[in-house]
């Protein structure tokens, strides 16, 4: 195991995070605050409780997931796309670094950043609504698992993308809609029966549901199912990454 390499990549990526602090941390926190003001305070005050939880508190897990998913994908994809674009990837390709080590460095750094972001949003929420966390350990576990999974997914997008547009298209066209429709702002129970069934095909439903359960003990789907679905998606990403490196797809001609 080339530990110095993992460390070097991790450090390098974290330095990039702190260099672009406004873009990577401040702006998601700001936009989440806006959501809290609009949905939590302004609209939420006119909404009833959902399963015994005030609407403002109810949307916290969903909002965190919304940012977490988007930021995980964009950070991790950008982290590996940038060297491809600038040409500095030659160094990674000619270094004694195995695919696993590269992934640990890049995805590890992106995940760290995502978890930091999630916790920061959680803190920010405190200023707007009171909430409690029923299962803090599970909450952290879901946060970490989701971060790692979607950073891996972002890493794949970054490897696959060969222009900036491709880099944006999946987060924008797929992940954001799935998150909005995945129960960030409502409970799946509130949907008509047909849409409830359809929602179960949305992987983000499981993430948000499981995460919300760790806060309030209530969930749209079984929590074990949530955890398993997340793990399954992580596994899928791992398989795809392994395949990419084995075949050299879009990396080595």
């Amino acid at each position: 195991m080339n530990i110095p390499a993992i460390h070097a990549i991790y450090r390098f990526e974290m330095a990039r995070t702190f260099r672009t602090l406004t873009q990577s941390i401040v702006s998601p926190v700001l936009s989440t605050s806006l959501y809290f003001i609009v949905f939590g305070t302004a609209i939420g005050s006119r909404m009833g409780h959902i399963g015994g939880t005030s609407y403002g508190a109810f949307i916290i897990p969903g909002l965190i997931m919304l940012s977490l998913l988007n930021e995980s994908i964009s950070n991790a994809s950008f982290g590996i796309y940038l060297p491809k674009w600038s040409g500095t990837i030659y160094e990674l390709l000619s270094a004694p670094v195995s695919p696993l080590e590269a992934v640990l460095g890049y995805v590890g750094a992106a995940s760290t950043k995502s978890v930091m972001l999630g916790l920061l949003i959680l803190l920010t929420a405190r200023f707007f609504v009171p909430y409690s966390i029923l299962h803090p350990v599970w909450m952290l576990a879901f946060l970490l698992l989701t971060a790692v999974t979607f950073c891996s997914f972002g890493f794949i997008i970054g490897l696959w993308a060969d222009d900036f547009q491709k880099l944006q298209v999946i987060p924008l066209m797929i992940v954001t809609p799935l998150t909005f429709l995945g129960g960030a702002f409502y409970s799946i129970d509130m949907l008509p029966p047909f849409w409830q069934k359809l929602a179960l095909f949305n992987p983000v439903v499981y993430l948000i549901s499981g995460f919300r359960w760790s806060f309030y003990g209530q969930s749209d789907v079984n929590v074990t199912l949530s955890a398993s679905m997340t793990m399954a998606f992580l596994l899928l990403c791992a398989v795809v990454i392994a395949w990419i490196f084995r075949t050299g797809y879009k990396l080595r001609s």
Binding site: N2, P4, A8, G87, Y90, E91, L93, S94, R252
Partner: protein
């Protein structure tokens, strides 16, 4: 067995390596090449000849379509951890991390190649490349020549024993070129094997121990530079005549003579290696014929002339 023994005794050993890119373009046909330990090897060739492809395959950036490569006896694909740790690469393109500082970028490279932190070594590399006072500068603020130095520093950060320099002096000013040459010689003194590609022939002429010429994906020649220049080098004696001649006198038939510049210049081509160059006899003949001359000088072909004639296929 024998094959393995030879490959261990070489810094890099390339056997029947070919490369056909996806679109069907055959960049390398079947390359065999041995690089000796501690030598400076110059790979010459026109643009698109396959120089960068060959280097990229050895360094692991491009996958070969066929053939095997060993570095210090280790297979570059199977034992990539060992071989890549030995190899440093300075790419042709100025690909740098714009926002990083010089120090951070070079330190990153060392870590990436699996070496523990060693600030002393990095300081030495930066000082040797006159980059020390720029160590805290962001790379994007540096000039092209300085960025080239940063790439070299990155390649040397992990103390490689084999260094590839792909067009190291392309677009670089004279001062940096000489600095670079000095640095490469210094590296050789510490036992580092250096392989460089260039299309500045004078660079190869100045630095290389051996020269390989690659064109259209084929290595058409590998030779000691001195032997090559001796073997393929031509010498010419140029005689400026006092009075112009209309044609060569019959008495001079049989000599490799050319009359030019309105009959005022006589050029005699001879074999520099031969014991008897024929100069004395020729000059005596001219004297006998009463052909007086104002001036005479000899010309020696440079590596550039040799290269051009090789690549054009007209030796």
């Amino acid at each position: 067995m024998n094959d393995q023994a030879t490959s261990i005794s070489h810094a890099v050993s390339v056997r029947a390596v070919s490369k056909t890119y996806k679109g069907g373009f055959q960049a390398l046909k079947s390359i065999d090449l041995d690089i000796r330990h501690g030598e400076i090897f110059a790979l010459l060739g026109p643009n698109g000849a396959g120089k960068t492809t060959l280097i990229s395959i050895i360094c692991g950036i491009v996958k070969p379509s066929g053939g095997t490569i060993t570095a210090d006896g280790y297979d570059v694909l199977r034992d990539y951890r060992i071989t890549r740790a030995k190899i440093g690469l300075v790419p042709q393109e100025l690909s740098t991390d714009a926002f990083e500082t010089v120090w951070a970028a070079v330190r990153f490279s060392r870590g990436l190649y699996g070496r523990p932190r060693n600030d002393k070594h990095i300081e030495k590399v930066l000082r040797d490349l006159s980059l020390w006072d720029k160590k805290d500068a962001k790379i994007m603020t540096l000039s092209g020549g300085m960025k080239r130095r940063v790439l070299i520093a990155k390649a040397l950060a992990h103390e490689p024993s084999i260094l590839f320099l792909d067009e190291p002096t392309a677009g670089v000013d004279v001062e940096l070129r000489h600095d670079m040459w000095r640095m490469v010689r210094g590296l050789r003194e510490t036992g580092v094997t250096v392989i460089l590609t260039t299309h500045y022939i004078d660079e190869a002429e100045e630095m290389a121990d051996r020269v390989g010429v690659i064109t259209r994906g084929e290595l058409i020649l590998v030779e000691e530079k001195r032997a090559l220049m001796r073997k393929l080098g031509k010498k010419q004696l140029v005689i400026n005549l006092q009075t112009p001649m209309q044609a060569l006198p019959e008495a001079l038939n049989g000599y490799a003579l050319e009359l030019a510049d309105d009959g005022t210049t006589l050029t005699y081509t001879f074999d520099a290696q031969s014991d008897d160059t024929g100069i004395t006899v020729l000059l005596r003949k001219l004297d006998d014929l009463g052909l007086g001359f104002k001036d005479l000088h000899t010309l020696e072909s440079s590596l550039e002339d040799i290269f051009v004639s090789l690549v054009r296929g007209t030796p």
